[in-house]
Point group: C2
Chain length 607, copies 2
Amino acid sequence: MPVSTLKRKLIGTPLRTSEVPHQRLSNFAALAVFSSDNLSSVAYATEEILLVLVLAGPSGLSWVWAISLAIAALMLVVATSYRQTIHAYPSGGGAYIVAKENLGVYPGLMAAGALLIDYVLTVSVSVAAGVAAITSAAPFLYPHRVGLGILCIGLITLANLRGVRESGRIFAIPTYLFIASFAGMILVGLAKQLFADATVPGQEAFAAPAQQLTLFLLLKAFASGCTALTGVEAISNGVQAFRYPESRNASVTLTWMAGTLLSLFIGITILASYYGVLPRDGETLVSQIARNIFGTGILYYVIQAATAMILILAANTSFADFPRLSSILARDRFLPHQLASLGDRLVYSNGIIMLGVVSSALIWLFQGDTHALIPLYAVGVFLSFTLSQAGMVRRWLSRRTPGWLRAVTINGLGAVATAVVLVVIAAAKFIHGAWIVIALTPLLMIMFRKIHEHYTGMAQQLSLQGFEPQKPKEQIILVPVSGIHRGVVTALQYAKSLSPHVEAIYIDLDVEATETLRVKWGLWAGGTDLVILDSPYRSVVGPLIEYIDGVERQHPDAQITVVLPQVVPARWWHNLLHNQTAWLIKGALLFRKHVIVITDVPLHLKQ
Amino acid sequence: MPVSTLKRKLIGTPLRTSEVPHQRLSNFAALAVFSSDNLSSVAYATEEILLVLVLAGPSGLSWVWAISLAIAALMLVVATSYRQTIHAYPSGGGAYIVAKENLGVYPGLMAAGALLIDYVLTVSVSVAAGVAAITSAAPFLYPHRVGLGILCIGLITLANLRGVRESGRIFAIPTYLFIASFAGMILVGLAKQLFADATVPGQEAFAAPAQQLTLFLLLKAFASGCTALTGVEAISNGVQAFRYPESRNASVTLTWMAGTLLSLFIGITILASYYGVLPRDGETLVSQIARNIFGTGILYYVIQAATAMILILAANTSFADFPRLSSILARDRFLPHQLASLGDRLVYSNGIIMLGVVSSALIWLFQGDTHALIPLYAVGVFLSFTLSQAGMVRRWLSRRTPGWLRAVTINGLGAVATAVVLVVIAAAKFIHGAWIVIALTPLLMIMFRKIHEHYTGMAQQLSLQGFEPQKPKEQIILVPVSGIHRGVVTALQYAKSLSPHVEAIYIDLDVEATETLRVKWGLWAGGTDLVILDSPYRSVVGPLIEYIDGVERQHPDAQITVVLPQVVPARWWHNLLHNQTAWLIKGALLFRKHVIVITDVPLHLKQ
């Protein structure tokens, strides 16, 4: 079986259910595991802000400081707010759980929808940005960016299907390399400016500003920069992965992550401003800064490699989160339950594959362009932030545990701040793509509800409560035959072993053939009744179904079983040489509302 | 059901089997019906000859006379030869039948393969040439010729699926319009040359001849012109459509057809030569001649319309011949028997659809270029001519009926002449596309044989000769269950009505769920044994099949039936929300070599 061998080579041998791993992470490892999504946004957040401000010329660029500081302040508020979630939900408090528990099912589903979209976009944006880091260093790859992106996602998907664990070891090296190399670049860059040749390279020549510096433009720049906050919730989802005392350790790690992010983000903003670097096509802002500071030497390539790696790790984070959330939703009957079953390697394979396919499609649709994808990105993130914080507020208000007033103030501030930002982003980025997410979230909610209705409806209909098994009824066996041969005789014999009431049914398509059958029937059919039906229009299924209808009307209490003699060819292509009448009959019987049992009696051909 | 409504609108309501029409044609109508394929080649045969000769410059063109006369002589030989086939096979003597009866199965299959290819090419070539007639008159349509060609084929396919009969009425008008208008054009053209302004427009200026005038070039020109003979065999296939005395009437009609073809073909050659017209891209030769004679007036458009119509009728002829031949081959078990069954409108729908699809694909592959398709065309035609004539020779030699010597001489001359032409065409056109047909014919023969082997092998294996029905065995019923609910209880009840030996099988994937089931089982399962199987790798099908294997080993004489409780959702998309485990189990059981009966006990959900 070549397909299953290929699968085994790619995915690995199946693992036993008893091998589900349980591991706890040190804070050092946990920072690496949980922060890649958040920290990686340093690679593009500043660029996204400048991309908007540059439209208003030099006077616009001078606002980069104010906007970066506003984002830093927002980050502090959100991080503080999430510290409280960590303490309140030591077993893991994702936005879906917090919103559902405290605000109700629908806000929970809204958060879930926003999060699923967010995870898909995290993969697409991170991979697109990672590929941009690669093509900045190797411009000849630029025309192949879509293919490269999809290849990346394919490899990540495969790695996750094999069961890449969130092990500290895999994550630690790229994450700390990224932190160290960026911190180093920032320090060297600043030092060069302060001590060495303090000549700031002239601001690049400006064409006339394309737009006026308006409040809307500033809000748009702010909205673009808010992507820096994505991933800040990751630690609150994974409190269980920390060592005892879990909540305390998680909360400390969150503080470290927020601090690191802020330092790097502000650092890159300072460098971009000092070195007068502006966004341009085909090379990322970070790549330009690194070239300015290090030249195109080995250190430059280290920066680019670290950037690409952490971005791909960030994508990998979604490959843990998306299948986990969809399995929770599946267990709550809001998604198909196939998403809740563990694959060969003890991972939620179906969710992993779905994420790989959808995020690849996005990369292809948006031609691997980070700037085109980012407007879609932050809406979902901030919607889930807002719902999660609002859930916390509701929780404090209803429990009133000691210290609730301080707690409700912090989460309230978080909820209000993220809600305001949500509105800003939705408005500023609406026509650039935010509308897609705004339209998609309610559609997902409707889908969740429809799926839920199906499962609960089915459970009711299958429920044994009040079910009175009916008494065994008369058995009537009908055997449609296309002639008489070994397969038919075998099927007739089987039919007679079930019930004395057996009728064979033959459709008369050709007078001669029918006459021949009548003669042979007497010899071979062992006395079974043969019903011959006319078919003026040469249909086989039509007259058969009509006849079955008639039998049903005459024997309303009988159990009707249709026994189909089935000749199974030895080779697949032989199927092309046979009318697939058995399938047509099965299809027609399946869509009836009455219970007709269908029995296949196979006869295997040997050649 | 919208699909079936659409089908009814396009194809029409089904016809009763008893409505199969029986009609006889007058010679006048029969000439129209059977000659369109043959006569239509007048539209392109001269052009194909000139297209080769023009390469050798003016000295090449002077050979057009000799070549046309050689083709005319060949036509006389072939037509005379076919007159004998008509008398020998009054019930219709297609090349397949004549070759199979007299030369053996393989020559018959070779003729059949060549004919099937020929029919496909007739459609592609005729439609491409018909579209060329249209785009010559309306050059702005030239870029859309592929689309137009495929549209034409689609309409012809549809008309044939509705059951366009070979009725004299439909065919008579375009065929006789074509004959009359071409005859008129030839007469007017000749008169203009003889009596009116006898200035021959100067032969178009020549570039230096591209090639030397070699014997090979002349043979190539001859080979190209031989397409004029295609369709000459049509009458011999359809003798049964003539009135009494059938053979005589058919033979007279064949003479008329050959005479008409020769007159028109030679006429067009004379005109091309007198008016000094040469082939050129974007306009057909006939269109240029007609413009020279009539100007671009109404008579010009009549010529073009008549050309386009007869070419499309010629394509339509194949839509009668291809399905008829493939239904004969299917009845002889050389093609899938679906090709032998009559569709809703009493036509061989599957053959019609297959021809439509394959010929459209050719139009698209060759970009609607008549000149590119024609090299493929004549090989198959002459191969079937040769085999058919050779079959006749063999027939006379073995029967030696009175007058056999004269008969064998005529058919022998026909066989030799067509064989020589076949070799000429195959050699001259080999690299231009004839190799495709030469390679395809044996492949088709291999396919015919493989299909035949399958059907005869199956018939043997299904044969009741020497078949001893085995005694009824012990019945063991196995019911795989995924839990316990109404569907399962219904299935268990059904199983118990079949045999006292019923075992339910459950795969343990989750300790808790298994424990719950055990408790409920006692309450609801009515004492049926429950077998619980371990599945360390979470596979459902694997352990189940292993267990069934075990049962089979323990009870080698028992008949095992697997009863599958099947929940049938109310809407198709609900299927996405269910594991299709039942299908996986069926698939795994179907590919076993032991006979295991599979029974579906459905439970229909209502919402």
